[in-house]
């Protein structure tokens, strides 16, 4: 087997079982302060509602917990270790000052129902972030309530629905390009809209003629990602917006790819009516192994009355407050005000950058993607020749001839010290390799990535088997996903039933 690159090598990693396998009666990691009020007779207070036994909950000491999770953490790849070339995920650096400020006492311990008088700090954070996001997007009103991108899409579509209902002309369907992320059609269905596919043209962009043909008074909206999931900017975007608006439809923009646009162009300026942002993508809030995210939704004035309640307002005495008197609101999409902790982090990111930092960030993101494109052109098939912005999509067409598919190449990339790129998406590119480096990557890391991808392509030519059976250097080899789905084991169970104490 070939040698590995300069980036990664093998290292001893600790084994660690499940925490329940370490549990033993009598061990404890907790100690409560003594009770300063009278003891209670639980049986008397709760009667039949009293719980006697907590079953197989673990009992372990503090150091065991520290070692347990520390060892587990060493099995993970992370941005702090190296690049994630995942398309449309925007895995950028998660600044640590964001973590510090979110832990300041008044911010970390603020109760959402505490009086407005002592909530001015949180409200000012919400207001400042809202203003910045409106300026960045060129939109006119915003809600920070949705907890993630998909949640934002749901909210956006609910707003669209409310808009059409208010005109007395509810519509039936939503147009979605075949290159779209899966959350788009899933969300449309949840809101009760039928989904109609919109074909892409030979350049991978929206087929404007097809849109013209499919657009009618039954179409509520077009859900667009721009740049699209190929990393290509929809150049006819204004025409697209006009076609929709002419027949009373709205243009929804999935803001997942904002990292290519911030400070260069604003969606509100090119005809978008409603859009969501992903604070965990463009605005640096940490992915944390899958979440939390935050999906603010920004709209044009006509949709403002329908925003989720409450809405933040400035009162005449200069203080901030929440306005619940919103008769046309779609209601709530989650409790309280949204993922406030992510607002703090996103705002800290914006403040750390300022206008010049934001511009430089976008430029570096696009520069990095194009540098990778140049480095891999000719080595991997490029299905669309249109200019790439912050991400580039290749296909496995050349390598497939030797029996290596995009998933195999991705798995082999792990041996070279990188997390895989996005495989098999977008759907319009069979065998896609979707690569987004983000601005956080130094030239050195990009060169290592290009070197690794070239080496793998070489391996496919010479010995495809090593690629097809990758990864070879990880703690676990490829896992049996079929068995996991056929006979799901979704929790640990003790070997024998534990007897009640």
């Amino acid at each position: 087997m070939k040698h590995f690159t300069r980036k990664a090598t093998r290292h001893v990693s600790q084994n660690e079982g499940l925490i329940f396998e370490k549990s033993s009666s009598g061990k404890a990691a907790w100690r409560l302060a003594p009770l300063d009020v009278p003891e209670v007779d639980t049986e008397k207070l709760l009667g039949l509602s009293e719980r006697k036994d907590l079953g197989n909950m673990p009992e372990v000491s503090e150091i065991e917990i520290i070692r347990h999770f520390t060892r587990l953490s060493t099995w993970n790849y992370a941005i702090d270790l190296g690049m994630y070339p995942l398309g449309s995920c925007t895995m950028k650096y998660n600044p640590r000052v964001n973590e510090v400020v979110s832990r300041l006492e008044g911010i970390a311990n603020g109760h959402p129902y505490q009086p407005e008088k002592i909530s001015q700090g949180a409200m000012r954070i919400i207001k400042t972030l809202s203003d910045c996001l409106l300026e960045i997007t060129g939109m006119e009103a915003i809600t920070l309530q949705p907890a993630a991108g998909a949640h934002g899409e749901l909210t956006g579509l609910l707003l669209i629905r409310a808009h059409h209902d208010s005109k007395g002309a509810p519509r039936k369907k939503v147009l979605i390009p075949d290159s779209a992320h899966g959350t788009n059609p899933a969300t449309a269905a949840m809101v009760g809209y039928a989904v109609e596919n919109l074909k892409s043209n030979a350049s991978g962009m929206v087929d404007v003629a097809a849109l013209e043909a499919q657009m009618n008074e039954d179409v509520a909206a077009l859900m667009l990602t721009n740049p699209n999931t190929l990393g290509v900017f929809e150049q006819e975007i204004h025409k697209i917006a006009d076609i929709l608006h002419a027949k009373g439809g709205l243009l929804y923009m999935d803001g997942a790819n904002m990292n290519a646009l911030v400070s260069k162009v604003r969606p509100g300026d090119f005809g978008v009516d409603v859009m969501h942002l992903n604070l965990h993508k463009t605005f640096s809030t940490p992915h944390g192994g899958g979440g939390p995210g935050s999906g603010p939704v920004a709209v044009k004035k006509q949709l403002e009355p329908f925003l989720p309640r409450p809405v933040l307002i400035s009162k005449s005495d200069g203080t901030l407050g929440f306005d619940y008197d919103r008769p046309q609101s779609i209601g709530r999409v989650r409790s309280f005000y949204g993922n406030f902790g992510m607002f703090v982090r996103a705002l800290a990111y914006i403040l750390a950058n300022g206008p010049d930092g934001l511009r430089q960030t976008t430029e570096d993101a696009v520069l990095n993607a194009n540098y990778i494109r140049k480095g891999l052109e000719g080595v991997y098939d490029l299905p669309y020749s249109s200019a790439s912005m912050h991400e580039v999509v290749f296909s496995d067409k050349l390598q497939a001839k030797k029996g290596a598919r995009t998933m195999d190449i991705a798995k082999r990339l792990i041996d070279y010290g990188f997390h895989p790129y996005t495989t098999a998406f977008p759907l319009i590119v069979p065998g896609a390799l979707m690569i987004e480096p983000t601005e956080s990557e130094p030239k050195e890391e990009l060169d290592l990535f290009i070197e690794a991808m070239r080496a793998i392509a070489q391996e496919v030519e010479e010995d495809a088997e090593v690629v097809r059976t990758a990864p070879h250097s990880t703690r676990v080899s490829r896992l049996d996903e079929t068995a996991a789905a056929r006979k799901p084991v979704l929790r640990w169970k003790p070997a024998e039933p534990k007897r009640e104490a």
């Binding site: 509602s49 197989n56 009992e59 989904v195 260069k264 939390p292």
Partner: protein, 459 residues
């Protein structure tokens, strides 16, 4: 800019390699008519010290140094310090969703443990790897019941958190799911007679919360009996997770929708929190959200993977069980560590302290105000009616840096001057005594004001 790891020389070399003159060339796909030629009007770039200062000011403006009696769906408990030590590790904090299982075993195994512990605590057979929060978990759980039963209408107890009901209404409105609201009796529990009458052969499920919004523990068995007899499902929401340490979980529920915020998640002015759905194995394919399953690799070694992904948006697209993609993984990790720290014995002890503190507080308050819903057991919240408007009492308490109980007028106007008070293990006896003292003072001054105006007829 200090987050950008490129020197001018790097950029120059890269532009040359690409074959363009300037970075502007790479933005030529954006039609000139839209290109922004000015700076964004956002605050100027700040030094790290300035950022910290700016947020410190906000923290000061946000009630730092205050004590609280607020609960109502968000609870103030002690957070063991190792939670932040561990979740701040870059390998957890900055890791992506564990789609590539070979390099995500840390995240996957910890989620598997989380799922296991939620099952142990709730008495259910499977649990998912987190939803956005308790309110959306409840809405999604209800939609699950609708799919599973093939029925449409939903009966919701009015004693369920008002904001949970609002979220459900938003989701339900567009799914053609009529909602019927069932009132509470003077025990604070759902009115069983009314419930019985409201359930039809088209009722998909009943949604109750236990302990409910008032802190009262519902008679889940009785509700389950009614539901199941009529072919409907029972969905139980749990907002105060600590209750599971000492209150029997709703084992007869079909689906449990939980908020795990009490398990080591900061109040954080409302989010991010951690919703969870737990249910029986037979319902698993209709369950939204990520699931981690155990399996083996090619060498027979145990490992973990995301499984049953075919329910999810990235495969099912418009036929998905939900559109959820990003979840609350890091928050679930906080909850995981918390449950591990307290464990079998600690969670029970902790819950007992909550119960004791609240019982003491209710007792003290009862000497001056009217404690409602005493006909049924409660956990760590109680409702007191005062003669004076609770906003006025709270205003005086605020002067002492104490945040009083949540006035209920907004959500339950018929309860008049009622407010909802929560005591946790962190609520000191002296704080309770001080608050009770203020209530006492308030009652006294109202009484004496009445005595000063004998023409007024006392009610």
């Amino acid at each position: 800019m200090r987050y950008l790891p490129k020197s001018p020389a790097d950029r120059k070399a890269m532009l040359e390699a690409i074959g363009v003159n300037s970075i502007d060339d790479l933005f030529s796909p954006i039609p000139a008519e839209y290109r922004l030629n000015r700076d964004l009007k956002v605050p100027r770039q700040m030094a790290e010290s300035e950022i910290v200062d700016w947020f410190r000011e906000r923290s000061r403006e946000n009630g730092d140094g205050h004590s609280t009696f607020l609960g109502a769906g968000a609870y103030y408990h002690y957070r063991p310090v190792i939670i932040d030590s561990l979740i701040s590790r870059g390998e957890f904090l900055t890791a992506y969703t564990p789609y590539q299982a070979e390099i995500s075993q840390g995240t996957l195994q910890s989620i598997f443990e989380f799922q296991t512990m939620i099952c142990e605590l709730t008495g259910m057979e499977v649990a998912n790897a987190s939803m956005y929060d308790g309110s959306t978990a409840a809405a999604e759980a209800v939609m699950m019941a609708v799919r599973l039963t093939g029925r449409r209408t939903v009966a919701v107890a009015r004693s369920v958190h008002p904001e949970y009901r609002e979220v459900l209404a938003t989701y339900a409105f567009h799914q053609g799911m009529p909602l019927a609201t069932i009132s509470f009796s003077d025990t604070g529990r759902i009115n069983l007679k009314e419930l019985e009458a409201a359930i039809t052969s088209d009722t998909a499920c009943i949604l109750v919360q236990s302990p409910n919004f008032f802190g009262t523990i519902e008679d889940v068995e009785a509700v389950a009996e009614i539901a199941h007899r009529k072919g409907a499902m029972l969905v139980v929401a749990i907002a105060e997770a600590i209750s599971l340490g000492i209150v029997e979980p709703p084992r007869s529920a079909d689906v449990i929708a939980m908020e795990a915020q009490s398990f080591g998640v900061p109040l954080g002015f409302g989010g991010p929190y951690c919703g969870v759905i737990a249910t029986r194995e037979s319902n698993v394919r209709q369950m939204p959200g990520r699931l981690v399953g155990q399996t083996t690799d090619r060498n027979g070694k145990r490992g973990f993977v995301l499984t049953l992904a075919t329910r999810e948006q990235h495969i099912r697209r418009e036929k998905a069980t939900s559109n959820i993609c990003t979840n609350q993984a890091l928050i679930a990790l906080m909850a995981n560590i918390y449950m591990t720290v307290y464990g079998k014995v600690g969670l029970k002890e902790l819950a007992r302290q909550n119960l004791a503190k609240t019982a003491y507080a209710a007792d003290q308050f009862s000497k001056h105000g009217n404690i409602l819903f005493s006909g049924a057991p409660r956990f760590n919240e109680f409702v007191v009616q005062t003669s004076e408007d609770p906003y006025a009492i709270n205003s005086r308490l605020l002067g002492h840096k104490i945040v009083g109980g949540f006035p209920l007028k907004k959500f339950y106007p018929e309860l008049g001057n009622a407010s909802l008070w929560c005591c946790t293990e962190l609520t000191s006896r002296s704080l309770i005594d001080t608050a009770a003292g203020h209530v006492a003072e308030s009652e006294r001054s109202v009484r004496s004001a009445k005595e000063e105006t004998p023409e007024e007829v006392a009610r």
